[in-house]
């Protein structure tokens, strides 16, 4: 038993203990015990994951635990990345949950499902057989569903979100199940090594079918367009620390699945698979960030931003696959490292943002940015947390996501047309999509932070907000520390991620081992996040010094705001999130198709005098309108037709039986 195995066993044990404690402890101490237990479980999982990335692999076979296939578990560097990410998110959300759960989600069911959800997410990447994998996957789906509907008693819209989530996640499971079963049917056993060996003998049609099926299933978990419909519903309605776990840890499992099955088990595959992955990734990134840019509900905004970031990760994974199939292992390793680094960065900042949004919701009771504002003086810690998260999320320096997007662009830019016209067309389009995403994410997060936290409060709840309890601030502090560490030293992680690429693709490390500067191997390019931060700080100090020396130095004077001489400005005159995003919405109107409605009420005496003007704007999810609505309509129509077939007449039912038997006999006669 090496360190990895011990830490993993400890993590799973702690998680199960916390789950039991959640159902047994009295209400008074339940949240505290569960929170601390989950955080400890996450800490142990982080140790296990980091040790696995460091090269200490481990595997366990428990053939008697389950009938037929048994349970097989193995942790390699790739699994280690996802275990460590899940562990890190669990630490922050566990601590945060202590304070947050006291308000409505401290029931036995929810409290025992929370650690179980973490355990399930730790087990998904380490499962080493189809049976084990599907079991853990389903456990993850069920526990997360329980958590999504945690607040169904207080809010009716939670039930609808839960239904969407349940249906989508199980349709995804069906796709993964059928894909993996087809795969396993061609192999000697259901263990991953056996599948790996069998993959070489699969016919292109079968392997293509398997890949498309698992791509659909895992893609729906990762929230890629057009299978993202559950994301903007389930994330906002779940309690905020659960949203953080789902958005920062669970969606990653979709990425894990695609990488594991596509790159590892099936060993790469033809280029069209990865062009497909790249394409849906770019589409998701653009569509997600556009929807985020115009949404005014802060948690919906964050959910769409998850779609965007998973899209960017898939662009990296797709590029890695394309380079791999083209035989360029160095670039493939670079693209995969960029994708995995972005997974890690996304987990850090999305945890922070969801926790801060939860703190905002906890203090004001609303998620609507239009009604918030002015939280900075009353909630300084939450404001700082959200500000940091927004800086990282907008992929600007000195944030960590900037480095991973830089690596991704480097991989795309060096991917010269080594193989074919399709790649040569795909790469520039991917660069353009990533660039456009970067620009729009800046606008999105300036809006979220500026409108939500700065300026003056736009409603009574925002005015009366108070800072959250210490445990919630502590959870945010853990996530913030993660963001800062990643921003300062992404170089510490890159060799480990290079090792993942080496294990999967046979590639060398994509970057040289240098503590300060990222030097790409096999391609020209250097970037030093640390030097960048130091340079900005030095320039800032210099400017402050020079300005102090040059400027006159009377004390700052409080002044009135410029109000055009019309009297004091009220908070109703401020820009809201809706008005802030209006130009962008107009620019992208062809894609978004906003629905506007203006109702003008005139005075009865004269139609030239206006009594009131009412303005409604809704931006429906267009993919949903076009793709899901028809399907739902057909299903509903089918449901209405159903009762007509069963009117309660016994004669008719006997008739059905008779004709069915007749048809069967005719079929047998014809087919013989």
């Amino acid at each position: 038993m090496n360190l990895t195995a011990v830490a993993l066993v400890v993590a799973v044990g702690l998680g199960l203990c916390a789950s039991v404690a959640g159902s047994l402890c009295p209400r008074r101490i339940r949240c505290t015990v569960v929170g601390i237990g989950t955080a400890a479980c996450g800490g142990a999982a982080m140790v296990a994951g980091l040790a696995a990335i460091g090269g200490q692999s481990a595997s366990v076979q428990l053939p008697d635990l389950l009938p037929l296939a048994g349970v097989s578990i193995a942790i390699d560097p790739l699994a280690g990345v996802f275990v460590a990410v899940t562990g890190g998110v669990a630490v922050a959300t566990g601590i945060y949950g202590i304070g947050y759960s006291r308000h409505g989600s401290d029931g036995r069911g929810v409290q025992s499902a929370f650690p179980l959800f973490v355990v399930a997410m730790l087990l998904v990447p380490v499962a080493a057989g189809v049976g084990t994998f599907l079991l853990c996957w389903e456990l993850m789906a069920l526990t997360s569903l329980l958590l999504v509907v945690a607040e169904h008693r207080t809010r009716p819209e939670v039930a609808s979100a839960g239904r969407w989530y349940a249906v989508m996640t199980h349709l995804g499971l069906v796709a993964i199940l059928s894909g993996l079963l087809v795969f396993a049917a061609h192999s000697s056993s259901d263990s991953f090594p056996a599948l790996r060996a069998a993959a070489q003998h699969l016919s292109p049609a079968v392997s293509g079918l398997v890949f498309v099926l698992v791509l659909v299933g895992f893609g729906s978990k990762a929230g890629i367009v057009p299978l993202h419909a559950w994301l903007p519903r389930a994330h906002p309605e779940a309690p905020s620390h659960v949203s953080a776990l789902m958005s920062a840890a669970m969606v990653n499992m979709g990425i894990y699945g695609i990488v594991r099955v596509g790159l590892d088990l099936m060993g790469g595959g033809p280029r069209w698979w990865w062009l497909l992955v790249l394409g849906v990734g770019a589409l998701s990134a653009l569509y997600g960030i556009l929807q985020a840019a115009i949404s005014t509900d802060v948690k919906v905004l964050l959910a769409y931003s998850t779609t965007e970031n998973m899209g960017l990760v898939l662009v990296g994974v797709g590029a890695a696959g394309i380079f791999h199939s083209g035989g360029d292992q160095v670039l493939a390793g670079l693209a995969l490292a960029a994708a995995l680094l972005h997974v890690i960065n996304h987990a850090a900042f999305k945890t922070l943002l969801f926790l801060a949004a939860g703190s905002m919701l906890h203090a004001t009771g609303t998620r609507d940015l239009d009604l918030l504002g002015g939280l900075r003086p009353v909630m300084p810690a939450t404001t700082a947390a959200f500000g940091l998260g927004a800086l990282v999320a907008s992929a600007l320096p000195p944030g960590a996501a900037f480095v991973s997007e830089w690596l991704l662009l480097q991989a795309l830019i060096h991917g010269l047309p080594t193989a074919g016209v399709a790649t040569a067309i795909a790469m520039p389009l991917a660069v353009a999509a990533v660039a456009l995403t970067a620009g729009l994410s800046v606008a999105t997060f300036v809006k979220a932070f500026g409108v939500g936290f700065l300026a003056r409060p736009r409603s009574r709840p925002a005015e009366n907000a108070v800072e959250s309890p210490p445990s919630m601030v502590g959870g945010m502090a853990v996530a913030a520390a993660g963001c800062v560490a990643l921003a300062l030293m992404p170089t510490a992680l890159l060799p480990g991620l290079g090792r993942v690429g080496a294990a999967l693709l046979g590639a060398g490390s994509p970057v040289t081992e240098d503590a300060i500067t990222v030097h790409l191997v096999g391609a020209a390019g250097t970037l030093s996040p640390l030097i960048l931060i130091i340079a900005v700080v030095i320039a800032l100090v210099l400017s402050v010094g020079v300005v102090r020396a040059v400027a006159a130095r009377p004390a700052r004077r409080d002044t009135r705001l410029w109000d055009c001489g019309a009297g004091p400005l009220s908070s109703r005159m401020e820009y809201t999130a809706t008005s802030f995003a209006e130009p962008l919405q107009r620019v992208f109107d062809d894609v978004l198709r906003a629905e506007q409605d203006v109702d003008v009420t005139h005075f009865a005496e004269s139609k030239y005098l206006v009594q009131a003007v009412e303005y409604h704007r809704r931006v429906p999810d267009r993919v949903e309108r076009r793709l899901y609505d028809p399907v739902l309509k057909v299903a509903a129509a089918w449901g209405r037709i159903g009762p007509r077939l069963a009117p309660g007449s016994m004669h008719r039912y006997l008739g059905y039986g008779f004709y069915a038997l007749l048809a069967l006999l005719m079929f047998l006669v014809v087919s013989r």
Binding site: L396, V431, A432, V446, A524, I531, L569, Y575, A581, P583
Partner: protein, 315 residues
């Protein structure tokens, strides 16, 4: 630390700070003369800055630290960029961040700080300016990235020093379709980013048209001086970047003082010519309606994209 890098690290920011207000003064003077006015003279922006620096700093009620830190951050990021970009010497002290993505992102960071400051005051003007500026930024940032990427594909590096050096070695490259497409896209992007006509009119305070001015309306005294100086510096930095990406001749490749002096003169001349051309063009241009601006930017984005595609196929 080697000598040429240190020399350029000191020379470049000093040059940018000293010359930017003069550049703006020159552009205003050219406009004034072409419009039949006498004009205030080239040194007027410096006189304005001196006057503003002596005033009492003001603090609009309800604004926070974001409002006070934003001008300094704008200035600081522009200073870092002015050190990192190869202006007078291809060897840079900050070579590890002399990367086009880092440079564009740093400049965007400054703009974002200012947009947040505009929102922070809580006035309708501030919000309007911030909203318009971020809309423009959201479309300009990709344009700039894609355009310079087009130039970097054939060099095989996004390092600006490497791009400039390779153009020096192979001057014929400037006349390729890739360069020309990228140049047009970059020019439109720079005009939008620095708030010049036809995207934004830097000389009016009319609420229907202003973008940048609406955002910084509340600033006064030394804060306003910093914002004005930093805006002028950004214009210089962008014009210098444009000049050296396409016409790098004269730039020093070593720390020889004579070469450095020559490089300073060459840079000054190139930037002055570009600025003069921009000023002359502005006399004949009217400001676009706000919602026509995205069409212009989308057009330049497509040009940038064509440049990238062309660079892949012609590589």
């Amino acid at each position: 630390m080697n000598a040429p890098a240190a020399a350029s690290a000191i020379l470049q920011p000093v040059l940018v700070v000293a010359l930017s207000p003069l550049l703006v003064g020159m552009m205003r003077q050219i406009r004034a003369r072409l419009e039949g006015r006498i004009g205030p003279g080239v040194r007027q922006p410096w006189r304005d800055l001196r006057k503003l620096m002596r005033k009492q700093p003001a603090n609009p009620r309800g604004s926070s630290e974001v409002y006070r830190v934003a001008p300094l951050l704008l200035l600081a990021t522009t200073l870092v960029v002015s050190v990192a970009i190869p202006f007078v010497c291809t060897v840079s002290l900050l070579d590890p961040i002399g990367d086009l993505f880092a440079v564009i992102a740093l400049l965007t960071l400054g703009t974002v700080a200012l947009a947040l400051a505009g929102l922070d005051t809580g006035t309708a003007f501030g919000g309007m300016g911030a909203s318009r500026e971020t809309t423009v930024i959201a479309l300009v940032e990709p344009t700039l990235l894609v355009a310079i990427f087009a130039l970097s594909v054939r060099v095989g590096s996004t390092n600006l020093g490497a791009i400039v050096t390779s153009t020096l070695q192979d001057p014929a490259r400037v006349l390729s379709p890739v360069s020309l497409l990228a140049a047009v896209a970059l020019a439109v992007g720079i005009i939008a980013e620095t708030g010049r006509l036809p995207v934004d009119n830097p000389s009016t305070h009319l609420e229907l048209t202003m973008i940048h001015e609406a955002m910084v309306l509340e600033y006064a005294g030394p804060d306003l001086a910093i914002v004005e100086l930093a805006s002028a510096m950004r214009l210089t930095v962008f014009l210098g970047l444009m000049a050296n990406l396409f016409l790098p001749w004269g730039i020093a490749t070593s720390g020889d003082p004579v070469l450095l002096l020559l490089a300073v003169v060459a840079l000054g001349a190139k930037v002055a010519v570009l600025a003069a051309a921009l000023a002359v063009a502005e006399v004949f241009l009217a400001k676009l309606r706000l919602f026509r601006v995205p069409e212009l930017l989308a057009g330049s984005f497509v040009l940038g994209l064509l440049a990238v595609a062309a660079s892949y196929f012609l590589a």
